[in-house]
Symmetry: C2
Subunit: 418 residues, 2 copies
């Protein structure tokens, strides 16, 4: 064994056994992913009660004005403004009450000089009236109304089309339907709208040792965790995840599987992407498509693979629960949100002081889960195999690849997990 | 008309026609609401694929350890650590390969001196072995393995129970099920869990003029907007909203309705709570229960009512779409999240400079919708009747009751809308 072994960086050996030929940075990985992920084009009609959070797939032109008539913006009396100009709190103007305009029964009669008509908020303004005096500034005695304050023309009236003008394009293709935008559709009388379909994502656990929850474990076996964390993350990010039963680490089985993905917009494997599993997934993807990267410069989460089969994105997520979930947040979520046409997820970032000295130097970016307590960020990361590294975390810190030591008390930015 | 009218504050007249006897501050209103809203007690069993975002209604004790066996944390060779102590990169230790432990087929044979067994990440560690040498630091030639680096006992092994110890209470009643917590349930082999039911909220539009979307409007009529904005907001906040068709502003109809609410945890009326509608809802609630407040010191949104019927919370939201929706965010969301046992909604706040001078002095707090552009907060509020005041907004500012003028360029805190 006279062979010379040269260590480059940490954990990466130049020689025969390079585990990942080329680790790419998280940023490069994300750029590659986003370059190859296409927004879903399929549309579906959805009822108004289910529209919130969906992405509109049509331009919405107002077919009516809202309001569709001039209406009172206040409770009071519809008047001709000029009849009130001399009113004061001690010398009121005296008007004659000639009717009541209600939402159910609008008054059609034209208002004449020194007349008024009682209105409630929302009532149609009768012809001839051009203002509303608020109830508070009046006093009614039988058919007589005393007005204690002048109003200008237009006062307390919501003119027709104030909110939405007929013909106006009020919502656009691609709009995320917030509660207020759903309200606009309702205001126009819409009962449904076209939205983009949610991307259908196949979730595929791999590994001979991976068993269905509910089954009995034999030695060496574990329950499938990644499918359920992935389903959870994807359903929170506008997707329709569909889970498959675990596939053993056998080339032919995986190969057969990837030939049947025509109904899905994306496939996410978990497990099967680290060296010990003989790069099976890489071989399978290479056979039917292309690998865009395999190995990301982040810890945990290195053995992540991304490729295309028939132009369809294929993710190979690490088998370890924490690595799988952290890369789901960092790489998968941006991908599926683009696919679902959703804006990037808003980040909740808080500053905190790290509670202990951390020595790095893995040659990779580090994703470190922390708990926040009294303004301190306390690392809770145990090991990338442990799902509890994530459950106990309030958020995570990303430590740059070239950081050597983080001293106790240094300020860090914690991205909160939901 | 010699009667003296005294103005107190703005818009509030002391005398016969006080529109709301007592406006309470938003803070007081919120405290009263939260005091009277009770978390839902009913539980339901939900399948693991639907658990994310739900609130756990049981303590979860680990019925197994995770992992349930000592396993390799790296690809490499299981060894007795002491056999490697003298290895160097130029003088490797020589071990004899006596088997392969895979997840499917664990090795039962005890490891003897200077033996090793090949393992992949996740493989069970064979008896006698106490460490794993990473693949990168080895070289295999037939049955011989060269080890170029020593390992300490325990190195690269995830011991049984490292993640979760059998018997440990790993999740608790009241926990919000994040993707990671769903993962913990999966790791324990759970297929379902008990969670608290979503609060069932009756959404009831009132007003003779309010019509169903899809119907034909006559003069003076408008489509029901508030039901759909409320349904949207409530379904985004852990509730199950159920909408009723509009009820006309008629005492008997409302009175009959409130007697039939036994299946709902809360009732939210919209419209029917301003003076013009003769305080109908207030009368209806008073007859069967009690009013806790009617009138909030906020603009828009003053005519908001809160009461109890048979201990059940009843909201009367303003009829105007913006007022209804803004108070839904400010008052209703905290209420229903408490009911659903969800933590307070995280607020996304950004700082911006107000783009124009704003003169206040309504005697109420002001909820002002703004658009954010180039670090400037540009008011987009039109009028409380206009739903588009909300659709064009990125967020809102709350201006305090005692603020007179906000000068152009002053910094404001904008709470982002989703």
């Amino acid at each position: 064994m006279g062979r010379k072994i040269i260590f480059v960086g940490v954990g990466l050996v130049m020689g025969k056994k390079i585990p990942f030929k080329l680790l790419i940075s998280r940023e490069e990985a994300l750029n590659l992913i986003l370059k190859h992920v296409k927004p879903v084009e399929r549309k579906e009609k959805v009822g108004i009660e289910e529209l919130v959070g969906r992405v509109l797939a049509e331009d919405v032109q107002a077919n009516i004005s809202v309001p569709s008539f001039d209406r009172a913006a206040m409770d009071g009396y519809a008047v001709r403004a000029e009849d009130t100009y001399e009113a004061t709190s001690t010398k009121p103007k005296i008007l004659r009450l000639v009717g009541v305009s209600t939402v159910g029964k609008p008054v059609k009669r034209r208002l004449e000089k020194n007349e008024c008509i009682q209105v409630a908020t929302g009532s149609p303004i009768p012809p001839g009236a051009d203002a509303v005096v608020m109830l508070e500034f009046t006093e009614k005695m039988g058919e007589t109304v005393y007005v204690f304050k002048p109003v200008y023309p237009g006062a307390n009236i919501s003119p027709m089309g104030e909110d939405i003008k007929k013909g106006e394009t009020i919502l656009r293709d691609g709009d995320l339907l917030t509660p207020a935008k759903v309200g606009v559709l309702a205001a126009l009388g819409r009962r449904e709208a076209y939205v983009y379909e949610k991307p259908k994502i196949a979730i595929v656990p791999t590994g001979t040792e991976v068993k269905e929850p509910g089954s009995i474990l034999e030695e060496g076996q574990i329950y499938d965790v990644n499918s359920y964390t992935l389903i959870s993350v994807l359903s929170q990010n506008g997707c329709k995840p569909v889970r498959f039963p675990p596939i053993p680490d056998v080339f032919d089985e995986l190969d057969k599987f990837v030939k049947n993905l025509v109904n899905y917009d994306m496939v996410v494997f978990s497990g099967g992407s680290s060296v010990g599993e003989q790069d099976l997934l890489e071989k399978v993807v290479k056979k039917s498509g292309e690998i865009l990267f395999h190995g990301v410069q982040i810890k945990p989460g290195k053995p992540t693979l991304f490729g295309l089969i028939d132009g369809k994105p294929v993710f190979g997520m690490p088998g370890y629960p924490t690595s799988c979930l952290s890369n789901a947040y960092l790489l998968l979520v941006p991908a599926v949100r683009k696919m679902a046409r959703l804006p990037p997820k808003p980040k909740q970032v808080v500053k905190a002081k790290i509670s202990q000295r951390i020595v790095l130097g893995s040659g990779r970016e580090q994703f470190l889960t922390v708990k926040i307590q009294d303004g301190k960020a306390i690392p809770v990361f145990k090991e990338s195999g442990t799902i509890t590294s994530m459950t106990e975390a309030d958020g995570y810190i990303i430590l740059p690849v070239n950081l050597d030591v983080l001293e106790k008390g240094e300020e860090v930015e914690v991205t909160l997990l939901e």
